[in-house]
Symmetry: C2
Subunit: 122 residues, 2 copies
């Protein structure tokens, strides 16, 4: 469709993701209830920009990272767009805030609190 438009960009395909109304609370909570994915989400919230998949220094294999990114995307937490050979990831902060106000913010804030020396224990 619309193949007549001259595409000057390198290539920026979007990958299937749930609409805002289709984001499930349980899916979001499950997606966030994993140390690796929580770390990814926290990183995305910090840099607040596009980050490719392999730019995360989590101690897991490449294929495992692919799995986690898909879980996050299918839950509606992140958006993935291809740019060249890379895949850029962004947090769907506004969509999440529209669906579950305050949820992502409190999770990210709580994560940061837990991973700071001198933070509230644990």
């Amino acid at each position: 469709m619309t193949e007549t438009s001259p595409d000057t960009t390198p290539r920026a395909d979007a990958f299937p993701e749930p609409a805002v109304d289709e984001i499930h609370l349980e899916a979001v909570l499950h997606a966030l209830a994993d140390p690796v994915r929580l770390r990814i989400v926290s990183s995305l919230a910090e840099c607040a920009g596009e980050v490719n998949c392999l730019a995360f220094d989590v101690p897991v294999a490449k294929s495992t990272l692919t799995h986690h990114f898909r879980v996050l995307r299918e839950a509606g937490v992140i958006r993935q767009v291809r740019r060249g050979t890379s895949k850029m990831n962004t947090l769907r902060g506004e969509d999440l805030a529209a669906r579950f106000p305050g949820l992502l913010d409190s999770v990210v804030a709580g994560y940061r609190d837990c991973h700071r020396p001198g933070g509230a224990g644990a």
Copy 2:
């Protein structure tokens, strides 16, 4: 210890639960990422009082319910106290709010939104 204190109350033993500083974000998220437990938490948030274990009309066996209540208690989401042969459950709303401000509120609000006809889809 302290067996010398005269106990006039019918009996109100508390069950082991994490201190506020020991509540883990991942454990809370995992505890909430289950339909049965989410329903229990939502019910507790609504009535805002003590509810015994078998007062929930979730379609699971009795022993399964025991399991879910333990998961919630060990994650620090609820508090359990025995009163007679029953076990009263209360939400640790203040403790949770002190540790992860806004988290429980947004989850409960989101759950209610999802389970209302005419709510935001899903």
